[in-house]
Symmetry: C2
Amino acid sequence: MVGFQVMDVFEAIKKRKSVRSYLDKAVEEEKLSMLLEAARLSPSARNIQERRFIVVLDKKTRQKLMVAAKNQSFVGEAPVIIACCAIVTDYKMTCGQLAYPIDVAIAIDHMTLAAAELGLGSCWVGAFYEDQAKKVLGIPEDVCLVEMLAVGYPADSYPNEKNRLPLKEIVMREKWG
Amino acid sequence: MVGFQVMDVFEAIKKRKSVRSYLDKAVEEEKLSMLLEAARLSPSARNIQERRFIVVLDKKTRQKLMVAAKNQSFVGEAPVIIACCAIVTDYKMTCGQLAYPIDVAIAIDHMTLAAAELGLGSCWVGAFYEDQAKKVLGIPEDVCLVEMLAVGYPADSYPNEKNRLPLKEIVMREKWG
């Protein structure tokens, strides 16, 4: 068992930051499995489980994904990129939202908090040309590459917390306004 | 400080289930604040922070939301409904995904894991008529009610774990297939 400090949910929420600078250090397979297990256990609408994950460790492939991701250097630097895909269906929930982007987001959010507990940094990557990244990974047409997740050991101490609006500006009681 | 058992992230991930039966017991304000703080600290694309949350405790309002939610009884039964909204922008990430449904999902996922740690059950509600629910809550036109979250103390011992596909069916290495 690889070592890590067990962390409660609120600690992980506070510790999780978008890490854009990584050590040149591999992520242990055991930790990778735990991240993927976190994704696997996460819920999806009607338990459709349309999410699929491609774990990319190969440096050349990661370099190509970096190019597809508008040359954001951390995408090539992170030792692990997880391409988070969905087998696309037109299924919209009654509220009108497409289910698959939300379902993928749920799985990724689970992984980011699990990563924080495992001492890993992570960063959502939404800035990439989908066609180009799909070509690199051989992803078929009926599958959407919704987001990528960079994972690795943070190079620096964690970056400063981003500003967040105070609760009173984002929470209302009983009714809007 | 209200009592709860500190829980590590993986424990919370395993414990979190979709709870559709609740005790008639109020959720402490302190726990509610912690849930909302979890949502507040969660990331959003470019840190837009377009998420807004309406905490509904009033029974009559919850009953109306239950009707909007296709009469799913747990929506009226849960002592707390959090209406999770987004101030809609057309902003799409480079990958082509609309940011706001994903950003709202991230906040909700944070809350569901925090709820598990706090001994609370929760359930995503996507099956509702948006226009009807928005009218109940006075939500303006340019705001989307993306999902609702039911929160409360579970009435039963936690329901059985849902089936999930094994890792080997959802994870690939280096390339699709």
